[in-house]
């Protein structure tokens, strides 16, 4: 069968030393990112419901990726503002997997500790910690811990809502735990190892 051409070949990259930031991001993204295909049309920036809060529109970010502006890209809040609504993904005329690239950029920014505001990475980490402890997410613990840490002044304002949720039975006070937590742990530990080595 004619099989999928290797992404690197399509990107015109045949040697290891050609590794650029663009390529690195591309390789770290789940599917085939098609980042190299961006024509800077702005469909993504135009489609984004949260664009006004971003430092750079996704399109601009891709141009910066190409220019190898590593630090500026990873410090940008763009990837953290992304709400994963996939509007840009389905509209992109070049079928760039924008949302997945955003995930990649988040991961890279965390690893290299290049983020300006720790709220979002912390939230993700807290969430992940919960999942790794219980196997399920725990909204109550997550929300309260997160607000306490980052928006303590807002907490009183949010209290009626939280109380409402609790009194209506919509917030469990105790986390649920899956049965085979040890199995999940083994899987995740091994996956993390693989992540490190790949």
């Amino acid at each position: 069968m004619p099989h999928m051409t290797d992404e690197r070949v399509r990107a015109g990259l045949t040697h290891e030393e050609d590794l650029s930031l663009l390529h690195e991001v591309s390789m770290k993204t789940a599917g085939v990112s098609r980042l190299e295909m961006c024509i800077q049309c702005g469909t993504c920036g135009g489609s984004c419901p949260a664009a006004k809060d971003m430092d750079h529109t996704p399109r601009m970010l891709f141009a910066m990726l190409r220019a190898g502006m590593r630090e500026e890209v990873l410090r940008s809040n763009t990837q953290w503002i992304c709400v994963s609504c996939y509007h840009c993904v389905v509209r992109c005329p070049q079928e760039v997997h924008i949302a997945d690239v955003m995930y990649t950029l988040k991961g890279m920014a965390i690893k290299e500790k290049l983020y300006e505001d720790s709220t979002a990475p912390d939230f993700s980490q807290t969430f992940v910690d919960m999942v790794e402890t219980y196997g399920r997410s725990f909204e109550m613990g997550l929300a309260s811990r997160h607000y306490l840490r980052h928006f303590p002044l807002r907490l009183p304002g949010m209290m009626p809502m939280g109380l409402g949720m609790i009194t209506k039975g919509r917030m469990a006070l105790m986390p649920k735990k899956i049965k085979q937590m040890d199995q999940l742990k083994k899987i995740l530990d091994h996956a993390k190892q693989l992540e490190m080595t790949s």
Binding site: M1, P2, T5, D6, V9, G12, T14
Partner: protein, 167 residues
């Protein structure tokens, strides 16, 4: 030259697309693995499975078949016919104990010199990994050293057959 195994590969190309892609790779001076020797057909639809079997039994370690992209055949849709034969041929080869990866189908348009070069190099690497086909050319119809059937346990050692090596 190093000691690494250098496979011999026969490539069948379509006159209208992949042969021209090979020409283009040449014109653009793209470098690729020298192990492929090309045969021009008017169309990938001309590819008779006999050719592949003949190449493999005659000393080729792999066969690369190239044609126009689906929907772009110069003879309208003959490359689909090549595709069907290819898929069935691979199944038969598997039954004959030949790794189906030794036969590869690549779509390459006349403009895809780079693709032709890249696919060729990649294929040579794949075949290199598979190793020599080691297909016995038993000119007298006989294995080189038949051995006795053993005494009390299996002692039949049709020794591994060596590929004919140029003197």
């Amino acid at each position: 030259m190093t000691d690494q195994f250098e496979p011999t590969i026969i490539g069948f190309t379509c006159n209208w697309c992949s042969y021209r892609a090979a020409d283009l790779a040449g014109t653009a001076r793209m470098k690729y693995a020298p192990n492929v020797r090309l045969i021009r057909l008017m169309c990938s639809g001309r590819l008779d499975p006999t050719f592949v079997l003949r190449a493999l039994s005659g000393g080729a370690d792999g066969v690369m078949i190239t044609g126009c992209h689906p929907g772009e055949c110069h003879y309208i849709e003959q490359n689909y016919k090549a595709l069907r034969r290819f898929l069935l041929l691979k199944r038969v080869l598997t039954g004959l104990g030949i790794e189906p990866e030794r036969v590869k189908l690549v779509w390459a348009s006349a403009a895809e010199g780079a693709k032709f070069a890249a696919e060729t190099t990649a294929f040579v690497e794949e075949i290199r990994k598979l190793g020599p086909l080691c297909w016995g050319k038993d000119e007298d119809g006989r294995m080189k050293d038949d051995e006795d059937i053993g005494n009390s346990s299996i002692k039949i050692h049709p020794s591994s057959f060596e590929k004919e090596v140029p003197a």
